[in-house]
């Protein structure tokens, strides 16, 4: 050990001998930004690295500790960018670029705009499904697809009915229709990018972070069910037949009822028409299947 490093060691030991100096040393070593962020208000106009340090300091102390360590080692900005994005993403909030942190919690919309022709170009496997509702992207102009009146009401009714089924596979098909007709209840799944961009983003407050993580996890789960539901539809001809009949029934009833004006009308429409489904696994136990050959309409319901 040379005199310089020896002196350094002695100084370090001396700093730990006095309680006040030890406290100051500990704060300097473990929380060097303690005086920079004196409240939970984040200045979103400042640089991304400062925002990230403030966010991680109170929300993800483990990431903050790691970031401090790398800053001490003179890590360049691109390395800090990668480190922080990877660490924050591992907490359930996908962050690809630190520059995005100033815009609030990043949320990726996966919702559907049925009027957008591009959607059908990206998902040609959905064409047989939307055709059941009378949606034909090849008709109309190239900028917007015509959606028949009542398609959304029928789509919501199909979704509600499938969600009530004891067969988990049918419920997965229900999530598929919930996604298609934007009625899952999850903002990320129900809105497309453009619609989501019109909503103020969630802040980096602890409450908003917790809510965002829950929302993202739920959206991921729903989209997994959507994929599984789509597989069931593709591989189960009986299901397509049942869908076709149920949708035809819903359209017929809607035509009789006329226009649905408000939420109460929609609920009445969804509840008074009882749709029947065949379990995808082929069994006939439970109340799912009353008569797989015919779709029953309960006219006596309130």
């Amino acid at each position: 050990m040379n005199p310089l490093t020896e002196m350094y060691e002695q100084l370090a030991v001396a700093l730990t001998a006095d309680p006040l100096l030890l406290l100051a040393s500990a704060v300097a070593a473990f929380d060097p930004f303690w005086a920079d962020f004196d409240n939970a208000d984040i200045d979103y106009e400042t640089d991304p690295l400062t925002i990230a340090l403030q966010v991680t300091r109170y929300a993800f102390p483990d990431i903050y500790a790691e970031a401090i360590e790398r800053l001490r080692a003179d890590a360049p900005y691109p390395e800090m960018d990668r480190l922080l994005c990877k660490a924050i993403s591992s907490k359930g909030i996908p962050l690809n670029d630190l520059d995005m942190i100033g815009w609030g919690v990043p949320m990726a919309a996966v919702g559907v705009d049925l009027e957008d022709p591009e959607f059908y170009a990206q998902h040609p496997d959905l064409l047989p499904l939307v055709a059941l509702f009378g949606i034909d992207p090849s008709e109309g102009d190239s900028y917007s697809v015509d959606i028949p009146e009542g398609a959304y009401a029928a789509g919501h009714a199909i979704t509600a009915s499938l969600h009530e089924q004891p067969d988990s596979a049918l419920r997965q098909v229900g999530w598929l229709f919930g996604w298609l007709f934007s009625c899952t209840g999850n903002t990320m799944v129900d809105l497309d990018d453009q619609s989501l961009s019109e909503i103020p983003p969630l802040s980096w407050s602890q409450d908003d972070i917790a809510f965002a993580v829950e929302l993202i996890e739920e959206a991921d789960g729903i989209m997994r069910d959507v994929q599984l539901g789509l597989e069931w539809v593709k591989t189960t001809p009986d299901l397509m037949t049942a869908l076709q009949r149920n949708i035809a029934t819903l359209y017929r009833e809607l035509k009789k009822k006329g226009k649905l004006d408000d939420r109460r009308d929609h609920l009445r429409y969804e509840r008074t028409i009882r749709l029947e489904w065949t379990r995808i696994d082929g069994s006939t136990d439970g109340a799912t299947v009353a008569d797989p050959q015919f779709l029953l309409v309960r006219r006596d319901a309130a």
């Binding site: 370090a12 700093l15 309680p19 040393s25 500990a26 070593a29 473990f30 903050y64 500790a65």
Partner: protein, 86 residues
């Protein structure tokens, strides 16, 4: 205590009798003083605990300092502090 004279020495003695704070980070530095230069050799769970505790502690200190700076004067009609007697 109110009603009896409170001297500056008493106040100093009162504050001095408070035990020094003991934080996990302080313990780590006491055991390994060279960590002042960097904490990369601390096991991650210990490091996270130490950072979390210190962040909470500095937050409490900042909040306390803010509260003290915003205290409104309270007239003490029955207490006499001899050092500041007029």
């Amino acid at each position: 205590m109110f009603g009896s004279p409170l001297g500056l020495d008493d106040l100093r003695a009162c504050l001095a009798s408070i035990a020094p704070v003991e934080l996990k980070g302080m313990g780590l530095l006491r055991e390994q003083p060279h960590l002042i230069a960097g904490s990369s050799r601390i096991p991650r769970p210990q490091l996270v605990e130490a950072v979390t505790e210190i962040v909470a502690y500095t937050g409490r200190c900042t909040a306390a300092a803010r509260s003290l700076s915003n205290l409104t004067p309270i007239p003490l009609l029955t207490v006499s502090i001899l050092e500041f007697g007029l």
